[in-house]
Symmetry: D2
Subunit: 342 residues, 4 copies
């Protein structure tokens, strides 16, 4: 009953099979192969538009390379104060942007407050060259608090971006879970809501290193291939990245995996909600639950075999994550353990 | 009969099996897993010393990250004018070093001339802050011309490095082939000859993304984990990098693969040597051959099904590369085709 | 009665005379001249220790270059949330450090809270490579709120720096005012209190471009001359920077200038304190006053000829700055104007 | 009789007077003052076009900041192999561009060979993301060999720039000397010949720190003020930079100074030409002479009081530089000394 992280899961059998199949015979190197072309096309089909697709290795690479195209070296990038790019990816953004500034914005449920963000932009704009120039907004969908943005929420940031002539980035490390949770199509959640660029991650969804930068704004995609190459993120045997994408996108396996993870989390959340001593500070939109559990109770749960993070955001907060491989029996056992502490 | 590049080969079955095995169950993320520890240990066993080992994804990442630890942002990196880091990895070195300068040095057979290198260092040293400060030497073993350095040759650069207080890097994208070709042990070819840091690559040797930075000089390894992380080269599911290493190092499979590739090349080289109209400008030490073939003859060979690069270094020069998967029958057919043009 | 900023003042006659004197005859370029040697020596005399001295052009250059030597590219720099390096120098720190992260810490009177700073460092340390590594602390003395640190206060940050193995920087854009205000010698306020590096600025004190990086920690000074050169901050006619230093340090002119500015501010502060409707949120330690003045009253003062900034830190806050050239008559007129609004 | 460098000269009296005048009274900081506006306008008048003008402190800053706007981080900058930006400005270009690559091109008389430059661009273009992308051409006028480009020569590089969609930079550290020598107006030598951006330097011409980036291509000027600020090259008391410009441009003092320096060099060159044992490898277009003088003769000249550089470009080559302050009597004495060795 390990609920530490969806990146502790292994890989989906379909992904492994695709990698093995891709290993047969020779193929052009450095992304000039047929599998890469097919996988890029498959991603375009997901979004129903002619976006530019660049496969990379990690979410950190996807985010930082994407933002380097969206924000100048003297620019400010506005994100939630708890965002992964701000707290968990070292100074990757600074490295790849050439020194842009991260500005963390407070906000409920992992979503940066729009009015507060605007006030930061106004101050910076007035201050001219003396301050970092507003450059980009980055949203995580699913957010670091496990909540999901609907298209209307995304559009509010787009309006702000238009007002200050910024670019809008979405960190979609758990994009599949957001699509399933929001019930809208990938296009509505991204480019139709004004997203310029998506970091699209399927590593947590059954891949082994399955990330892509998806550029809806073609002007921003110019020379992006150079950015990827000089960062060491263009594989010589790129077909092994492409194969993972083809396996997960085929027959919407990525959405099935996410649907499973989300439903496992929903079931588990019921157990927390039912418990008198446990609070859920916000809804469980996707595959992450952040119950506030008193210390003594946490110890009981751990003694019963539940494995989970203490989450530093608030006192007694914890995090439970489900994934494509979470077994219904694990959830059942966890629910029993929780109920037993009542 | 495709001899374009060893990075067009797929992956060795043992690597694929190891990846599939690694996919089972949960594991700690970001390199905290048992497979990573075991693979790092296995690399240390190869060199018989307590080196620091960092798995990364591509040769470009290995080289540029390694050099960022060996050379300051205002430093000069001396390498052969035809080196891969100079000509084929965009400006990765400049990105990760924060702006160091590449200095290409001429030299026979892909090896930079020691005296010429020294004169560059002397001029730069005299010029003080006005010029890039001598910072590092980088050798490729196997070189970009397919030749192999013996320990004594490496030691000559080490002497230069000591004289100017530089660090010595080895680009070992085909290190396995160099070990087999030189007939000395990995330790003798690296740290015992004065190498501070090796980019150890097995991607061309049967892996899918199987590169490592091996730091023999522990002072240079300090904070290297931060460098890797901020470059987006720390995988969340790092076990899938480690598994490849364990598969290839086990029972010296990496050396068997290299021995096979080298012997295939040696056989093919015999055919070129025997041909009156074809010249080999230097010995075929490892798995790359650079025959000089007149244009009409190149067309005949291509018509006969041989696939190979025209190599820009000299008129009529070509490159043929063999690999772990090159079949003896391919060589036999190629030799027949070559002989038929006599 | 212009109290906008001490950088709106011109230059002291002694500085102008020194520049004119320096213009006669030939001199070695790029800092190899006799005036530069003399000025570096004069700075060392100020601190009574064998520090390394590097003249540069602007405070931004001094701060960002200094911090680039004190903090690695993947490091975090802790400063007050209102610090000049954080709010008024664009992304200079990020540029010269190669991407380090600024962490603004709240605190009263322009001084970052020590306990809060420690908690940030602890979280970052626990998070390892995933977060920016604690790298340096930067204090402004005089602070951005016009307050002055005494040696004991500085030492508290030094203790923190030792605990986390960081370097300690002091932004001394108004260092002269701090020395006069604190009544201790420059050595006690810097290296004896644990400061590794001081940005020592006299531009606001009567110079035209009179800044220096003073490295008390010699290990950090290594290769700093390369940093300055590649940033374009080594003048060919460096004697014109040195001449300004010699003029201002001779016979402690720099301290006289600061003493004058501080006393003018003290006199003006009396007028604010005496006014029923005006609050001073913290003591006026040096040459900057931050009175909180209701809007209607601000308009009256402006109508009476007083020129000053509205300060964004708090509602109705303003800033008044005096300098070496502030005339006693100006203060007298300002006091009359203030009293007239009572 | 010191002919080491024009940066060893002091400053012109008109410059000193202007600085002293500018010191009186208060002025807006950070370039918002009236003198800066007037000086920018005066520079625009020189070129007869609405260019964007940015004053900076050193030639290195001007060149590296300019090139950062003209070439992306993954780009290649083509210049003569002896260019100042390549050999004498450390890695400033790499720092400010974020890692662009310098490519030195051979060529007679300090001018890079056009055909050779094209071949480098062609190879890089074919190699795609694997190589640095052709980004900018940089010419020095006056060149590092003291020769001067005429507009037709500049236009040939412009044609190449158009063909590969590059930007064209001119390093005008001695631009005044080039204007006088070529006999054409500043506009014809720059934007009318296709130059996008000029580093316009008057430091060697009688200033103390008198450099400007002049952007003829307005698209490239976008956000340049941010580049300057974050590099620490925006002075708080910017009027002291502007004053120098106004003094030197008024009544064409800059051209008078250059005319004097050029004519002094021309007179001195006659003495070298007349000497049987001394060769001049190329014409003395401006204020620099590069005589090839046998060692014994060099010693005689030095014994006679002549001070000059040995120039590393060729055996026995030397460099003599004249400037605005070179006295006719110095030339007369030098000519006598040279003749005496015949």
């Amino acid at each position: 009953m390990n609920f530490i992280s969806d990146n502790q899961a292994g890989a989906h059998p379909a992904v492994l099979a695709a990698i093995s199949d891709a290993a047969i015979g020779l193929a052009e190197g450095y992304g000039e192969d047929a599998l890469t072309a097919a996988a890029e096309s498959a991603v375009r089909d997901v979004f129903g538009t002619d976006c530019a697709v660049f496969f990379v290795t990690t979410g950190t690479a996807a985010n930082a390379l994407a933002l380097s195209a969206l924000c100048p070296p003297w620019g400010a990038i506005y994100c939630h104060e708890g965002a992964h790019i701000q707290n968990d990816e070292n100074t990757a953004v600074e490295l790849f942007t050439g020194g842009a500034r991260m500005v963390g914005i407070a906000g409920d449920g992992g979503k940066p407050d729009v009015a507060l963000m605007r006030s930061h932009m106004e101050i910076a704009t007035v201050h001219g060259v003396h301050n970092a120039k507003p450059g980009a907004i980055s949203l995580s969908n699913v957010s670091e608090s496990g909540t999901v943005y609907c298209p209307e929420e995304v559009a509010a940031y787009r309006q702000l971006a238009d007002e200050f002539r910024l670019n809008l980035h979405m960190d979609g490390a758990r994009f599949a879970n957001a699509v399933v949770a929001s019930g809208v199509c990938p296009a509505d959640l991204t480019w139709r809501a004004g997203v310029d660029c998506l970091s699209f991650g399927l590593t947590k969804n059954g891949g082994i290193a399955t990330e892509a930068v998806v550029m809806f704004n073609h002007a921003l995609a110019q020379d992006f291939a150079y950015r990827r190459k000089r960062a060491g993120h263009l594989w010589s045997k790129q077909r092994f990245l492409a194969a993972q994408w083809l396996a997960l996108l085929e027959n919407d396996l990525w959405l099935d995996n996410a649907r499973h993870a989300n439903s496992m989390a929903a079931e588990l959340a019921v157990g927390f909600t039912a418990h008198d001593a446990i609070q859920l500070p916000w809804p469980t939109d996707a595959n992450e639950i952040f119950p506030v559990i008193p210390e003594a109770l946490r110890e009981q749960l751990r003694a019963a075999g539940l494995v989970f993070y203490d989450w530093p955001q608030a006192p007694d907060m914890t995090r439970f994550v489900t994934h494509f491989g979470t077994a219904p029996a694990e959830i059942a056992h966890a629910l029993q353990a929780i109920a037993a502490t009542q």
